[in-house]
């Protein structure tokens, strides 16, 4: 077991996938020679050569469209979109092509591609470089969406995403790149669709994913000091999401709090809340509460951004409401 940075875990997963499967190729803006805008692909060009690790021009639509075409033709492309905000330029390739090819061609082909995209605020990148758009993709039949919170999951989910026969949106959090965590050697694959109990508890289920996991764990410690034993569930996969794990947790605690950095309205939390209000109705002792970003673009100024991102204080306040 060794401490590894989140970004290094991503690099390691890419390197191991490139080494173990000759169909895997990598392309995107500045991923080869420069080693990636966030250094996630550092050293891979040197290790695997320019055929398999290549820089592209600033052409998001063609990058992702080419990934779809290459995947339909037997490769396993992993493409990087520098900021998740820029997936807007590649929406057709993702939504109309990648997601539907398998279905609309009657199962003749699948589209084994991965799109890596960093999301999230916390680095004052402003309204067009900070959004959490994962719910859009989770809404599209045919796409899978994962969002790791720790180095071990970053590794394990990326390996699984690359192995997966269908298109996977792999969402990374920019603010997590530099964070450290334990990564076993060898690091196991994490199956897509499996949540993890990050902290076991009995009084309230806090369900979250991505960088918010760490904020929720902090809040859980504060609650513990108040005598409340919170369970924290890290979803890890958003599409498909682990309904059984959430329902099992709810059945233990009978109280549910959903937390994500993405805008609260129409978010991942809304879907989970709606499902639990149905499938988990008999288990609920309190209303389901959500904590997400307010309905506004991500602001730039440090002081504004700090208020925008859901804080430990907001989570605590919401938890107390659920527990009241």
């Amino acid at each position: 077991m060794a401490e590894t940075r989140y970004v290094k875990a991503i690099t390691a997963a890419l390197a191991d996938s490139l080494a173990s499967d000759s169909r895997v190729i990598l392309f995107g803006e500045d991923v080869a020679r420069p080693g990636g805008p966030f250094n996630a692909t550092k050293g891979l060009l040197e290790q695997f050569g320019p055929d398999r690790v290549r820089d592209t021009p600033i052409s998001e639509a063609a990058i992702v469209g080419a990934a779809v075409g290459a995947a339909m033709s037997g490769l396993k492309p992993v493409v990087e979109i520098m900021f998740m905000d820029f997936t807007t330029l590649a929406m057709d390739a993702l939504v109309n092509q990648a997601a539907k090819a398998r279905f609309m061609f009657g199962g003749q082909c699948s589209v084994p591609m991965v799109l890596r995209a960093p999301h999230g605020a916390g680095v004052n990148a402003g309204p067009q470089h900070s959004q959490c758009l994962e719910a859009w993709f989770a809404h599209i039949p045919g796409l899978k969406v994962v969002c790791p919170a720790t180095p071990a999951d970053a590794y394990g989910l990326l390996r699984s995403a690359i192995d997966d026969p269908d298109p996977v949106i792999y969402v990374e959090h920019k603010a997590l790149y530099g964070t450290k965590g334990e990564m076993p050697e060898p690091c196991p694959l994490v199956p897509i669709g499996q949540a993890r109990i990050a902290r076991a508890g009995t009084d309230i289920s806090i369900v979250t994913y991505g960088a918010m996991l760490h904020t929720c764990l902090g809040a859980a410690e504060k609650l513990a000091a108040e005598g409340v034993d919170a369970e924290v569930i890290d979803l890890r996969s958003l599409q498909p999401w682990d309904e059984a794990a959430v329902l099992a947790s709810l059945s233990r605690t009978h109280r549910l709090l959903l937390v994500h950095e993405a805008v609260e309205a129409f978010g991942v939390g809304a879907e989970i809340a709606a499902r639990m209000a149905d499938a988990g109705f008999d288990e609920l002792d309190a209303p389901i509460v959500r904590v997400g970003a307010p309905f506004m673009p991500v602001p730039f100024a440090k002081s504004l951004e700090a208020q925008y991102v859901p804080s430990e204080a907001r989570i605590l306040e919401a938890a107390r409401r659920v527990l009241a």
Partner: protein
């Protein structure tokens, strides 16, 4: 120019002598003052094809024409749901380009893709079954006319999104290049797609990466209800030149010209490096079946039968001493195949909803909610 010996090599040599080849200026045009069709901007073509090759092309064009005429009737009778876009009058482009491709080469197509599919070898019965929405269709009845695809023959799909096939073709060409397969991909697109930014991205990437990709613009003068002149201020030739991509323009209603130019372009592309081919043609039917085309000049429409590629090819074949009886026999054979395919289409069963629902992902998803 003399008739060639035979075979694709000879065809390529001839087309390479075409005046509009490469980045050179197109030959001086002799505009045809009477026919104001979209094809009148193309220089006369001196080259000729061997008889057997021309006969093959003729047969393909006839197959596409009769298939679409039948689709039109089936649509009018309510046997085909949705939208269909016909390529009647444009068959020479599909036939000529696909003849230049080898079986292992692939194509990406458009919403007006019936001709491309059939010319690339999609099974006729599976084609009709699909468009008639049947379970036995090539896509299980989930795609329909706008999404006919057949990976087994390298048909990467018709596409409901204007220009989208370009980037799929780009990726497919990248896959071929990386595997050193010497396969070529042809990306068909309409003149309307010239206004899409994706074309610009794909021309650039294909040129940067020297991909074995043939850009085929099927310029029928119209995008939906607007003429090209009101849609695009540039030219494909200009774009190609900008990216250093060799460009050819041909009379897209002259199947020999298309086949010769496509063969020459494919041969170069196979060695690496994109090529552009613009086929000037004309749309005969409405944008979709049921479109009364009130926005078009009666005069323009009246010119279209005069440049119909099928009688033109028939006349050439007659000149090459193919008997009228032989052409008649061929026509009857095509009709019989189509009637058999329609009959098969009618016998097809309806797709099963649960089966479709279970096929959104390759493996059943781990979420218990998946598929609900």
């Amino acid at each position: 120019m003399k008739a060639p010996a035979s075979g694709p090599k000879a065809m390529a040599t001839m087309a390479a002598e075409e005046p509009s080849e490469g980045l050179r200026k197109p030959a001086a045009r002799k505009p045809n003052r009477t026919a104001k069709s979209n094809t009148s901007s193309v220089a006369k073509r001196p080259a000729e094809l061997p008889k057997d090759a021309l006969l093959d092309l003729y047969q393909t064009m006839l197959l596409v024409r009769r298939a679409e005429q039948r689709l039109s009737a089936l649509f009018a009778d309510g046997e085909i749901p949705g939208f269909i876009h016909l390529s009647i009058g444009q068959e020479a482009v599909a036939a000529g380009v696909c003849q230049a491709l080898a079986a292992q080469d692939s194509i990406a197509s458009t919403h007006r893709g019936h001709g491309h599919s059939l010319a690339k070898g999609v099974d006729l019965e599976a084609f009709f079954l699909e468009i008639m929405g049947k379970r036995e269709g090539i896509c299980g009845g989930r795609g329909g006319s706008m999404h006919v695809a057949d990976m087994a023959v390298g048909m990467l799909g018709a596409n409901g999104i204007v220009g989208a096939g370009l980037s799929l073709a780009l990726g497919s060409a990248l896959a071929h290049q990386l595997r050193r397969e010497r396969r070529v991909v042809a990306a068909f697109f309409g003149d309307g797609a010239m206004a899409e930014g994706l074309l610009h991205e794909c021309l650039n990437l294909a040129a940067l990466w020297k991909l074995p990709l043939l850009f085929v613009c099927e310029n029928n003068g119209w995008s939906e209800f607007s003429p090209t002149s009101r849609q695009f201020a540039g030219s494909l030739e200009g774009l190609a030149k900008t990216f250093g991509i060799p460009y050819r323009r041909v009379d897209g209603n002259d199947v020999e010209a298309v086949a010769l130019a496509a063969t020459a372009a494919v041969e170069v592309a196979r060695g690496g490096g994109p090529q552009a081919l613009e086929c000037m043609t004309g749309r005969v039917r409405g944008h979709f079946e049921g479109d009364p085309q009130r926005y078009r000049d009666a005069e323009e429409l009246a010119q279209l039968p005069k440049i119909d590629p099928i009688p033109r090819a028939a006349a050439r074949l007659r000149a090459l001493k193919v008997s009228a009886a032989a052409l008649q026999e061929l026509s009857e054979k095509v009709d019989r195949r189509i009637e058999a395919a329609v009959a098969r289409g009618r016998q097809g069963t309806l797709p099963d909803f649960q089966e479709a629902l279970a096929d959104v992902y390759t493996r059943p998803s781990t979420s218990p909610r998946a598929g609900v």
